[in-house]
Amino acid sequence: MASPRNRRTETPAPTDESSSKTPVIEIEGEVVDSLPNTMFLVKPIGPNGQPLRIQTGDDSDEEPKAILAHLAGKMRLRFIRVGVGDRVRMQLSPYDLSRGRITWRLRADQRVER
């Protein structure tokens, strides 16, 4: 009896509840600048597409701040290319909201239209 071929499937990202590690804040954003060393500046975007203002403590300016984010090791290993304009999902540490880790590049069909 032939066996159905297994395909690699998307591993669901651990949710806050299921993760036994440090809690993370997961948000989406748009890449506004590509920096050396697979670092990116990402402008946070809320669930409805509105710009998100992340309070990092020291800021008093009006403009929503871009977050300095690096590419998750998992994505580097898979050679996921991220460029300016891409929508990404990133994780922030609750202890330092000015830094993020990009964990996902959203496909066109996952993009929330503004």
Partner: protein, 260 residues
């Protein structure tokens, strides 16, 4: 579902699988002799099940759970796949007609060891295209077995099938694959009927595989009947399927599903 690592078998275990395979080959010979216009696939199923139980075996296909939820476990001892059915046809009231081709796939458990084998047969006289399909697919299985040598790789088996089939202008079904076999029907590794030379895991002596090229005349696409099991060619073209359980040994491939 298969998971885990490849488990090579000892010489004694391979002998035990050969005993299982001989019962299976006997059962397939019985139903092959019964294939003629007017016979139903349900009757063939009964012949196979009776034969296997007479020899102390268990028909391993009975009750195989479906890969997708909400589908009943497989209800037969054989898969009977007529014409455009590729694999996993449920035996029942379907009547064989002259000119049909029928894929007969069956599995046996004897003393806890599995064997799995299939052949596609002509019902009476068939078209030249159909008989060429059977010839090529049978030859592809022979090539694949020839490539199953210790030190080779799973990919080499796929290459052997792919070369022959594609040169003949026929297409390979990619939705289903062969598999390791032993204490359970589906073990690691998967054995695709396509590949790259040297690709996939290395073939170690003692590895036992169910090698099973599935070949279509037209599209490689697969559609399923409402029963959730029967897999057909998307374009309705004919499909053939041959399979043997094979052990990789120091002295070359050994077919385990042959009659004594």
């Amino acid at each position: 579902m298969m998971s885990g690592s490849i488990r090579p078998k000892t010489a004694e275990q391979i002998e035990a699988m050969g005993a299982s395979g001989r019962v299976l080959a006997g059962a397939l010979n019985e139903i092959e002799a019964a294939v003629e216009p007017g016979v139903t696939t349900g009757e063939l199923n009964e012949i196979a099940e009776t034969y296997i139980r007479d020899y102390g075996g268990i028909p391993s296909f009975l009750g195989v759970p479906a890969a997708d939820p909400g589908i009943e476990p497989f209800p037969g001892a054989i898969c009977a796949s007529i014409n455009d059915a590729i694999v996993h046809g449920i035996p029942g009231s379907a009547v064989l007609r002259k000119g049909d081709i029928i894929g007969l796939d069956c599995g046996v458990i004897l003393d806890g060891w599995h064997s799995d084998s299939a052949r596609t047969l002509a019902v009476g006289e068939i078209s030249p295209d159909a008989s060429r399909l059977l010839e090529v697919t049978r030859a592809a299985l022979a090539e694949a077995i020839g490539a199953s040598v210790a030190g080779g790789h799973i990919g080499d088996i796929g290459v052997a099938v792919q070369k022959l089939v594609e040169k003949a202008g026929l297409t390979i079904v990619r939705r289903f694959v062969g598999h390791g076999i032993g204490r359970t029907m589906h073990e690691s590794p998967q054995v695709p009927n396509f590949g790259r030379p040297g690709g996939g895991p290395e073939l170690l002596p003692g590895t036992t595989l169910a090698i099973e090229p599935m070949v279509n005349i037209g599209s490689a696409g697969v559609v399923f009947d409402d029963d959730g099991w029967t897999a057909r060619t998307a374009d309705g073209s004919l499909s053939a399927h041959f399979e043997h359980t094979v052990a990789i040994t120091e002295s070359g491939p050994r077919i385990l599903t042959e009659a004594a």
